[in-house]
């Protein structure tokens, strides 16, 4: 599956810089000239690679949602391949949390965009992103209810959304340098997420 070690294509450069700028100043707060300047070309040159500013945001958001969902499905399948059921659920939940934390720590601008600029999309794109997000949430809900069978579905769904809020708080934790180390932060977030779920499950 050829993990990409190639140099990034121009398209990828643009997407990365656009994500950073959108996260910093908001979709409407960034001009196409700035995005172009960030990759060394100027303004309208972007239109050789994207149909428009909207298309960049759409590709970013759809990409994020797909990546999250695909990763979660893979983790679920891997863990179910090992054990039959029961005790495995805890491990799956841990794996989901770990995956989400990796994403939140490594792609902070994307995490920021993910729940901030969704409404700027054209209808078709927004529906697609919403659907992917819903699938991701429902996957978590299923695992959570397997670990804590006493929790009703609406509560589980609220709990999942709230834990996402917790995990997605990484952009507020100070710039990468000031953190006490990536591994320590990841461990802290992981424990808090488990603690939050446990508080719902342990009536």
């Amino acid at each position: 599956m050829a993990t990409r070690t190639d140099a990034p294509t121009r398209r990828e450069q643009i997407l990365k810089e656009a994500a950073r700028l959108f996260a910093e100043r908001g979709f409407h707060g960034v001009g196409v000239d700035e995005i172009g300047a960030a990759v060394g070309i100027s303004g309208p040159g972007l239109y050789r690679h994207f149909a428009g500013k909207d298309a960049m945001l759409a590709e970013l958001l759809v990409g994020i949602s797909e990546q999250l969902l695909t990763g979660a499905k893979r983790r679920l399948a891997e863990a179910e391949g090992v054990a039959g059921s029961g005790a495995g659920a805890e491990a799956v939940l841990d794996s989901l949390i770990e995956g989400h934390i990796d994403f939140a720590l490594d792609d902070r601008p994307l995490i920021t965009l993910h729940d901030r600029e969704l409404d700027r999309l054209r209808d078709a794109d927004r529906k697609m992103v919403r659907q992917l997000q819903r699938q991701y949430v429902e996957l978590w809900v299923g695992v959570v209810r397997e670990v804590y069978p006493a929790v009703a579905e609406p509560s589980a769904r609220s709990a999942v959304h709230s834990v996402f809020g917790l995990l997605n708080s990484t952009p507020h934790l100070g710039r990468p340098g000031s953190l006490p180390g990536r591994a320590v932060t990841a461990e802290l977030l992981h424990r808090m997420a488990r603690g939050a779920f446990a508080a719902v499950g342990g009536e």
Copy 2:
């Protein structure tokens, strides 16, 4: 101190509608004409009440920050008036959580703005908001470390930010109608917040 039961002034109407619109479409995504239309006047009429669009956002964000900090200080003082120390810390933390949840549930647009549009402020306003936010965080950190003395300060601060992320997830919990009831949601969030802190404190 005359708890306001009066009809809302025009200024307050404008601020409320502006908050809603800013939260829905972002600061740059809303025009002054739309804000005016939302309160029944049109466009430039707003300038009889505010110096400009920026001033509305500034007043909103400073107001939120002051309200949060003031409420937290009051709760801290009240609880310290009752008990001397020790066992009271738990009660103070519960009170802080309760206050933050009330705010997150009752003023969702403001919660959304609070961590989303801060960068659109003029330097002076942004510094003031940041300072108020910092005081609020530090107040929480102090209480958390009183309840869980084993937690180092940087961890406590990260934990507080993350719990804010958890509590501020209310805008993602579905529109007010679909919630299982305000009291139930508040209880759920409260338990999750306590569970998250406990997971950090109970090594």
